[in-house]
């Protein structure tokens, strides 16, 4: 039983019951979750920016335009079946105004729409989202027969986003 903390630009996947995957303290970044609930496979990426620069070395999980298909591959490698994959997204908040940006839209919103666009393109249904606003969030995925995803907003309580509500205090 282990918790994998997925930091900026990283990803993790598990099919081991009892494992948890987490992005802790998401601000403008997106925590992208892919789950195959029938096979109890979950994958999580901590996506930082909407699009990758034009260089071959770009780290795939950093950028929304590369992260969705890279995470799909990672989930499949852990035994997920593509037709059963479902997605959830968390984050994309706008905590500060920095001006300048150019497009007029903040980075959190741009991250979210880039991720949504790629999920659409790959035909992966988005089942749940906790995005936007001005607060940071933590997302946790509990791997097991009933894959559950929870979200906690800064200063708030952990709440179910997808799947069975948390069962408390079951020791392994």
């Amino acid at each position: 039983m282990a918790e994998a903390v997925v930091r900026m630009g990283e990803a993790a996947a598990s099919a081991t019951p009892g494992d948890t995957l987490a992005c802790i303290g998401l601000g403008s970044c997106i925590g992208l979750v892919l789950v195959d609930r029938a096979r109890s496979v979950a994958a999580l990426a901590h996506v930082m920016l909407p699009s990758a620069p034009a260089e071959p070395q770009a780290q795939p999980y950093k950028f929304a335009d590369l992260a969705v298909s890279a995470l799909l591959d990672l989930a499949l490698a852990h035994g997920a079946l593509k037709p059963r994959l479902e997605a959830a997204i968390v984050g994309g908040a706008a905590m500060f105004q920095f001006g300048a940006g150019g497009s007029g839209q903040d980075i959190g919103a741009r991250n979210e729409s880039a991720v949504r666009g790629r999920l659409d393109g790959l035909g992966i249904p988005l089942r749940a989202a906790a995005t936007g606003g001005g607060r940071g969030r933590t997302v946790r995925i509990f791997v097991g027969p009933d894959v559950a995803i929870t979200v906690r907003e800064a200063g708030g309580r952990e709440e179910a986003l997808l799947g069975a509500p948390m069962t408390v205090g079951v020791a392994a």
């Binding site: 303290g25 909407p50 940006g101």
Partner: protein, 166 residues
């Protein structure tokens, strides 16, 4: 990942040392109390590590963000654990997390940020100007990643310089 030479890091640390010394003096005269500044260390870290050295990403911090405009795109960010925010606010008989408390922390951020930036600007001959501070209470990781990525640019490393102690 480290794209700075030791000499460059030394120079940056010296700049930070002078900048924070100046900022500390200004804060000390505002508060009427001594302000100690710990010896800065300089390191260029990949972003995930830069966030990790700041502490538990899920913990709440009072954050003051001072965007800098001019010859250099920069953002000064100050992070206060709740107890420190409380200590600072208590000097003025106010509570952190209230509009008055936010305003007080914003002012501290303003003074530290402006003085830090002024020294930097003078030493490197740049025009740098702070813009009004923005105050939040949020998760440490969320504050830092929003600041580091706020302009939508891919920054491989962050310079982590020092900490102030009251």
């Amino acid at each position: 990942m480290n794209t700075f030479t030791d000499m460059q890091l030394d120079a940056l640390r010296e700049l930070a040392n002078i900048g924070s010394g100046n900022a500390g003096t200004a804060l000390s005269s505002m508060l009427g109390k001594p302000v100690d500044i710990s010896v800065p260390t300089a390191a260029a870290l990949p972003l995930p590590e830069a966030v990790a050295v700041a502490g538990d990403p899920g913990e709440l911090r009072h954050g003051v963000v001072v965007p800098i405009v001019g010859d250099l795109d920069a953002i000064v960010v100050l992070l206060f654990p709740h107890d420190d925010a409380k200590t600072l606010c208590a000097m003025y008989g106010i509570e952190p997390g209230t509009p008055d408390g936010d305003s007080m922390l914003g002012e501290v951020g303003n003074i530290l940020g402006a003085n830090y930036i002024n020294v930097l600007a003078q030493m490197v001959g740049m025009e740098l100007e702070p813009t009004p501070p923005q105050v939040v209470e949020d998760m440490l990781g969320a504050i830092l990643e929003s600041v580091l990525l706020g302009r939508g640019e891919d920054t491989p490393t962050a310079l982590v310089l020092e900490r102030l102690g009251l």
